[in-house]
């Protein structure tokens, strides 16, 4: 029998595990107002402040807009308020239209048209409150685990990540995929050295080629800039934790996706299919941007494995922290949700994997994560670098 959870059914058929009113700025210029509007409104409102959206070349601006539209369409968002200064290339109306395709109520606010920040704050409060009235009373309904899109991330990795935390989360991914859901992991730089294993698991030749092309593009980026990826991967913290090479880190990192076939790979912030099995996303290794890419793709819940410890969360999706390091579990218990370090002590992988899957379902059902309890809500959008566009373009070529 497929497990169930209760969630918020949206007009586009997707199911949210939270019912936020998202306050989304089109640019850095509107980010402060968006944050103020959300924090003064209350816990039901969540801002997504970021540094992008002004003076970006077309390709990078397209990515910013795609991510913001995806975040607004994420089923955890019941309604959205799009805030602009009014001088940006990304206009609030256009972004609101893209979000409204999901059928949810969307309002806009232009700081310039309002006549400045004071009026904007008042009108923002009013519009956010109206949106909350429209969707705040929506009730949770029973939904099937197959309707979950589960994003998987690792950060602050050490040797226990590949041994315990990632295999535990991977086991939970296998269970979800078995139940008909979608699991997604990303961070292309951390496929390097393990891409042959992922390629062997590709569901078809097209996925295999696309996956290898995404990895080659990341390696070409390093060559183009004349940098040694080893300077950043493994990071100094990873090395202190015992990870020696990027290959070792990658082999441990891919364990968090489980063992099922790779059914597809999508670009940064592109839509993830519901019921899609294991689907990869091309993202940078920077955790916050990587998590946001998957949330923009529709992930309702994220599992974040960490050996050395991480506190990061996300405004839209609950982030479950899983550690395989017994010291981190003890020292940072108020940031951790699942203790996978018991694997090192001898507890079986399926037992810990089942516990992780149960936690995922409980969080989907409404239990708060430690990051949610503490309102840890990092948000950042990846920016394609200008020299990257010049040398390699923005399309991956297979």
């Amino acid at each position: 029998m497929v497990p169930t959870f209760t969630g918020f059914r949206r007009d586009d058929g997707r199911v949210g595990v939270r019912n936020h009113v998202a306050v989304i700025p089109t640019s850095v210029a509107a980010s402060s107002i968006a944050s103020r509007v959300a924090s003064e409104a209350g816990a039901w409102a969540r801002a997504t402040p970021h540094q992008m959206g002004t003076t970006q070349p077309d390709e990078t601006r397209d990515q910013t807009e795609r991510v913001l539209a995806g975040v607004g369409r994420n089923p955890n968002v019941g309604a959205a308020l799009v805030v602009e200064l009014g001088t940006e290339d990304i206009d609030a109306e256009g972004l609101a239209d893209r979000i409204a395709r999901s059928g949810k109520p969307v309002e806009t606010l232009s700081i310039r048209e309002c006549g400045g920040t004071l009026t904007a704050l008042d009108q923002g409060a009013e519009r956010a409150s109206d949106l909350n009235e429209a969707v705040g009373n929506v009730r949770r309904e029973e939904a099937d685990a197959s309707e979950l899109v589960f994003g998987v991330e690792c950060g602050g990795s050490d040797a226990t990540s590949g041994i315990a935390a990632n295999p535990a989360v991977g086991d939970a991914c296998d269970r979800l995929v078995e139940d008909g859901g979608t699991a997604c992991f990303s961070e292309t730089p951390e496929f390097i050295g393990a891409e042959h294993i992922l390629a062997d698991r590709a569901a078809n030749e097209e996925v295999r080629k696309r996956l290898l092309a995404f990895v080659e593009r990341r390696e070409n980026l390093a060559k183009m800039m004349g940098v040694d990826i080893r300077g950043a991967q493994p990071s100094p913290g990873n090395k202190e934790g015992g990870l020696t090479t990027i290959e070792e880190k990658s082999l441990g990192a891919i364990a968090k996706g489980g063992t099922s076939p790779v059914n597809g790979i999508v670009g940064y912030g592109e839509d993830l299919p519901v019921g899609g099995g294991l689907v990869l996303m091309d993202t940078p290794g920077y955790d916050v941007e990587s998590v946001v890419g998957k949330v923009a793709g529709g992930a309702q819940v994220v599992a974040f494995t960490t050996g050395r410890g991480s506190t990061t969360g996300n405004p839209i999706a609950p982030v479950i922290k899983v550690t395989g390091n017994p010291k981190t579990w003890e020292r940072m218990s108020n940031n951790m949700d699942v203790n996978a370090s018991t694997i090192i002590g001898g507890e079986s992988l399926p037992t810990v994997g089942e516990r992780t899957y149960d936690k995922l379902l409980a969080i989907a059902d409404g239990d708060p994560t430690e990051a949610e309890r503490r309102r840890l809500e990092e948000f950042a959008i990846n920016e394609i670098q200008p020299n990257e566009i010049g040398e390699l373009g923005t399309e991956v070529r297979t």
Partner: protein, 106 residues
């Protein structure tokens, strides 16, 4: 976790592996029973770090998870700590401008 636990002190992920991962802070001189022989650590190995189970000549591949994780940049003896000082990556080396595939997938 797949793999074997050595004396509650270390993990070997697959039978092909030439390194084990310490799951405790191990001191120099620490002895591990490998069944057919006893391995003595030549130096301290911290929690999460690796040590060689066999001698690895310079330039030879280092295997963990049954996969190549790099090569020995100097001769490594059984019982030595294996880390960035004696094991180097073969991938992601933009600084070396290697072939278009960036190295050899195992």
């Amino acid at each position: 976790m797949k793999g074997d636990v050595l004396d509650d002190d270390a993990l070997v992920m697959t039978v092909e592996d030439v390194v084990a991962t310490a799951i405790d802070d191990l001191d120099a001189g620490h002895e591990l029973d490998l069944g057919d022989r006893t391995l003595v650590l030549s130096e301290a190995v911290a929690f999460g770090h690796k040590f060689a189970l066999v001698d690895v000549p310079e330039g030879e591949e280092i295997v963990k998870y049954g996969e190549v994780i790099g090569r020995a940049s100097e001769p490594i003896a059984a019982g030595d700590w294996v880390h960035v000082h004696n094991c180097e990556s073969t991938r992601g080396r933009g600084d070396l401008e290697v072939g278009s595939d960036g190295g050899e997938p195992a």
